[in-house]
């Protein structure tokens, strides 16, 4: 037996762990007590993270139309089908779980081989609103503080983020801040575990009314002169615009729209503005709305207004939810960004033509995630499962079935892979070497600890071989992840100073930007200036807009979707982990007992939830944690897929679908079974 260090593959809290390995198999997870982030502690997902590795369902051989074949056959077919495709008709969907090296190669393949900017990853569904909201205000859609510094905050606003279930590692740090006297304000329509465990003040807005509430807070801070004049004068522009935008605001109207009592909003505004170090953490509860980007602009406005940004433990911080949730974006798996957030355009294209020694790189923005699904004839999906994660699964299935050629590269036969013409078996987690960049821009290294099953290959190897088959061996002459990382250092200035050697020695990774080998990394962003053209923070006003689909007589309930602590995203890994399915193997519909009573539904009975897009039979879980008229369902379960119900309406600024609000009706299934 031997102990090998690893980082948890799940939520991006980045917990360290030891894997106990014997004869090429991982036998268990053991505490890594010296790891600064989690001190040996893990949640139930982490403790069982090794179990999917040698699950019998692992893909072991390439499949063409369901039949096993050799790598050469499969890749030759894919190369043949990809060759000569019109760039606009080709689309790539990437992942937040692949390594930085793999994500980097995936976008390079799309751009340099397929000459298309149609490359996206799952962040479209979690933080596209962040990019659209923080871009104009502070210039960068990233977490600004190190998670280790969160206990320096004396007021934390948790906006639409259920940290206690979805980021248990970070929740612990917030708890410690609270023990030192920090006040925690939670914005959530539900009474989540976060509210129960961490909340000092719970603002429970009606779904999708965050913008009204946040404008109210801005107005209250201004009315009471609680804003930070010095900071505003020195480091921001656009204050007057913000001021005039809330001048007309009627606070009684804010209370009416949001359903939150004004004194509570006043209290929240006062403690945040009065804090020494105020910190906003937010996630999908506030981004997954047609007004998602506006919500984020208003959060940024709040931080700029009070000066709670640019110091350790402050900022307006998006919580990316995958081990490389940040990294795949850094690497340019985004239709509008080349690596290092170089915005797509002629100048950027020329820059990368030089770096990569290629020609004709695309200079126009590509299609975004849902447009790729809906309109590309050929789709290459890597480590991504839109059949479970995209809104309106029935529509997604129709679109993918209608595509001419679908290649899925994954570790299991996911619901999306089942629709594929070609399935390519990839390696997982500690079956290959590479780096990941998690929530707080922390670059960490993963070592190869065990061999992959069967003929599964690293994603970088597959992409490289495919590029070679398509005649691009010169630009894709890689034989190791290390070699790819060296190229990343040359192409992504934020990573220039990070090397495998440094990462192997670092206690818990290195925060980008890290411009040179002797640079310690940057735990805190924007200490001097923002990432905007003039270096200032820009106040950008935004008005409240209601959600796209609200309840009516036919569909009288609001449905909101989300996650639970026992599972991870589309369930392809956690759904194959006995300890986790033993806790929860199917979804539930959380419903207020008063509503259930009206409908004649008892706890645990099966109901039929129907939206304008489809229906799901799911067990009711009666709970006062959701208000009347509101329901919640986790989206991890293929047998009870919440996204059959969700709405495809999106935020026009970023094409973020409104997962958090759609209208449903609920009936008791026959006999409740």
């Amino acid at each position: 037996m031997r102990y090998e260090p690893a980082i948890c593959p799940y939520c991006t809290s980045g917990c360290g762990m030891y894997l106990v390995v014997e004869e090429g198999r991982v036998l268990g997870v053991e505490p890594r007590k010296e790891y600064p982030l989690n001190e040996g502690k893990t949640c139930i997902k982490g403790s069982n993270a090794y179990k999917f590795l040698d699950h019998p369902d692992r893909l072991r051989r390439p499949l063409v139309k369901g039949k096993a074949c050799s790598w050469d056959e499969a890749l030759s077919l894919v190369a043949e089908k990809f060759r000569g495709i019109e760039p606009g008709q080709f689309g790539v969907l990437g992942s937040g779980k692949t390594s930085n090296e793999e994500s980097y190669l995936l976008q390079k393949f799309t751009r340099a081989v397929m000459l298309s900017n149609n490359v996206e990853y799952c962040a479209r569904f979690c933080h596209s609103a962040t990019v659209a909201g923080l871009g104009p205000t502070i210039g960068s859609g990233v977490m600004q503080t190190s998670q280790l510094d969160l206990d320096r905050a004396d007021c934390l606003i948790l906006a639409g983020v259920n940290v206690s279930e979805n980021f248990p590692g970070i929740a612990r740090r917030i708890r410690r801040a609270r023990e030192r006297g920090a006040k925690v304000v939670v914005l959530d329509p539900r009474v989540t575990l976060t509210v129960k465990n961490l909340g000092d003040l719970h603002l429970q807005p009606a779904p999708g009314t965050d913008a009204a509430l946040l404008n109210g807070m801005i107005r209250i801070i201004l009315d009471r002169n609680l804003h930070n004049r010095e900071f505003i004068a020195e480091r921001t522009t656009g204050f007057d615009e913000l001021k005039s935008s809330v001048l007309e605001l009627n606070l009684a109207e804010v209370q009416r729209i949001s359903g939150v009592d004004l004194p509570k909003i006043e209290h929240a505004a006062a403690i945040y503005a009065g804090a020494k170090a105020g910190c906003i953490l937010y996630d999908e509860g506030i981004t997954q709305h047609v007004s998602g980007s506006d919500n984020i602009k208003l959060l940024a406005d709040l931080a700029l207004l009070t000066g709670h940004i640019g110091r350790p433990g402050t900022g307006v911080n998006p919580m990316r939810g995958q081990i490389s949730g940040e990294g795949s974006g850094d690497m340019g798996c985004v239709n509008v960004f080349y690596p290092g957030f170089k915005r797509v355009g002629p100048e950027t294209a020329r820059h990368f033509e030089q770096l990569w020694g290629v020609q004709n790189l695309p200079a126009e923005p590509g299609k975004s995630y849902m447009d790729i699904i809906n309109s590309c004839k050929t789709i290459y999906a890597v480590g991504v499962n839109p059949m479970m994660s995209a809104p309106d699964s029935t529509g997604v299935k129709k679109a993918l079935q209608g595509s001419e050629f679908l290649v899925v590269q994954d570790i299991f036969m996911t619901e999306t892979a089942e629709l594929a013409d070609v399935v390519l078996p990839a390696t997982a987690w500690v079956e290959r070497e590479g780096t990941h960049t998690g929530v707080d821009r922390r670059v960490v290294k993963i070592e190869k600890i065990v061999e992959p099953p069967g003929e599964a290959r690293p994603d970088w190897w597959i992409i490289t071989e495919l590029a070679k088959k398509m005649g691009h061996g010169r630009e894709f002459g890689y034989d190791s992840a290390r070699q790819i990382f060296e190229e990343i250092r040359r192409c992504v200035p934020q990573y220039a100073g990070i090397s495998y050697g440094r990462l192997e020695k670092a206690a818990s990774g290195i925060h980008w930007p890290c411009p040179s080998e002797d640079h310690p990394g940057t735990p805190t962003m924007f200490t001097e200036k923002f990432n905007t053209s003039d270096g200032k923070g820009h106040f950008v006003p935004a008005a409240y807009r209601p959600p796209a689909e609200l309840p009516d007589a036919d569909y009288p309930f609001v449905l909101s979707t989300g996650r639970v602590i026992f599972h991870y995203h589309t369930g392809s890994l956690t759904g194959r982990t006995d300890s986790l399915t033993g806790e929860l193997a199917e979804a539930f519909l959380q419903i207020n007992p008063a509503d259930a009573d009206t409908l004649g539904i008892h706890d645990g009975e099966r109901v039929i939830a129907t939206s304008r897009r489809g229906e799901v039979r799911v067990k009711a879980r009666l709970s006062r944690d959701v208000p009347a008229g509101f329901t919640f369902m986790p989206f991890h379960f293929a047998g009870t897929p919440a996204n059959v119900l969700t709405n495809t309406s999106y935020d026009p600024a970023c094409k973020m679908p409104e997962f958090k609000v759609c209208a449903i009706k609920i009936e008791k299934a026959e006999n409740g079974r």
Binding site: M1, R2, Y3, Y18, V20, E22, L27, G28, E30, P31, K33, E34, Y35, P36, E39, G40, K41, T42, C43, I44, G46, S47, S164, E165, P168, R172, R175, R176, L193, K196, N197, K505, A507, V564, I565, F566, S579, G582, E583, L584, F588
Partner: protein, 401 residues
Amino acid sequence: MRKGDLFLGTSTDESFVEKGEHGGVVTSLLAFALRERLVDGVFAVRPGQNRYQGFPVYMTEPEEAVGCAGSYHFLTPSLAKNVKKYLDTHQRRVAVVCKSCDARALVELAKINQINLENILMIGLNCSGTLAPVPHIQMLSKMGIDPYLLEWEDIEGNNLVLRFKDGEQRVFNLDELEEQGLGRRANCRRCEHPVPRMADLACGKWGLEPGTGGTTVIEVCSDKGKQLLERAAAVRIVELQRPTEEQTKRREREERDKVDSALSRQAEDFARPEEKFYWFSQMDRCIKCYSCRDVCPLCHCKRCVLEREDPQTVEKGVVPPPFTFGTIRLMHVAAYCVNCGQCEDVCSADIPLSRLAHNLSKVASSLFDYHPGVDPDAPLPYSDIPEEERRSQSPELAKPS
């Protein structure tokens, strides 16, 4: 040589003397046991990149033993649990380097047939307590000291002494540290077994004049320990001499001080008036990670009652779980808990679990007059019903004879 005898030992192997903390005796004995095939392997903690990192390793070559030499206060994996989980001691004979919490857990595990104690040689280390690494890494960083330059640390009397690679030495008063939540782990502060007499040998520095290097004080605790020491001494792997009376007395005093301080800490920890309400609110934070169970050296059920489907003991798929989730587990180990502190170390919700578990085990201890891990021959509390109790009409439990 007899059980209870005390020796001053030194190693004759220069390379071990240099690496070993107090004379390289432990390392020499391990290498000797391997070389002479007295054991198939040695199980110990090997340090990693720095003083805070270390992991259990199973070694079969005598030369490997030197890699584990030294005394590390920040390395706290449960060797006992690792032995149970990853080494089949029914198939192989293993020397385990253990602190008293490991040794006591091994003794208990043998009683429930999880390991074969006959195949285990316990080389015990006296222990004045261990420290959680991260809080001290952070403390040093905040003081502007690079924590990763730490070269050596020790607990001397009531002080934590840290020596750094740049030659600097820092001394911290443990009471002061512990008041800020630093210093020794809470369970260590309550530990009344600083000398692991349930092991085969108990090795340490207590009794020596301060500053004495090159020597280890060895107490013979079992026949197995006696045989090993005799054989090693016969071929002059270690040289033994009797301690002076003064040294013996000093060792007794140092041990008694540790025990006294542990007992008064127990009294303090277990006598808080707010306890009942306190524990309810603590357990409310549980996120059902099962880490307390997973890491407990004594939890051993193949099918854990906490996960049972039919009938369901604890409601599934909800957090926080019902209060019973924590209490069922605690009750299952109450009679055997050895206060190793692992459950508290890994608790995702920062619940001070070992305080509760240790408290319960003390209650069980007083009911059954059973002291977990101390005597391999003492029958488990529920397994032995004294004759007088069988005949008794009183509801009170009789003490086992």
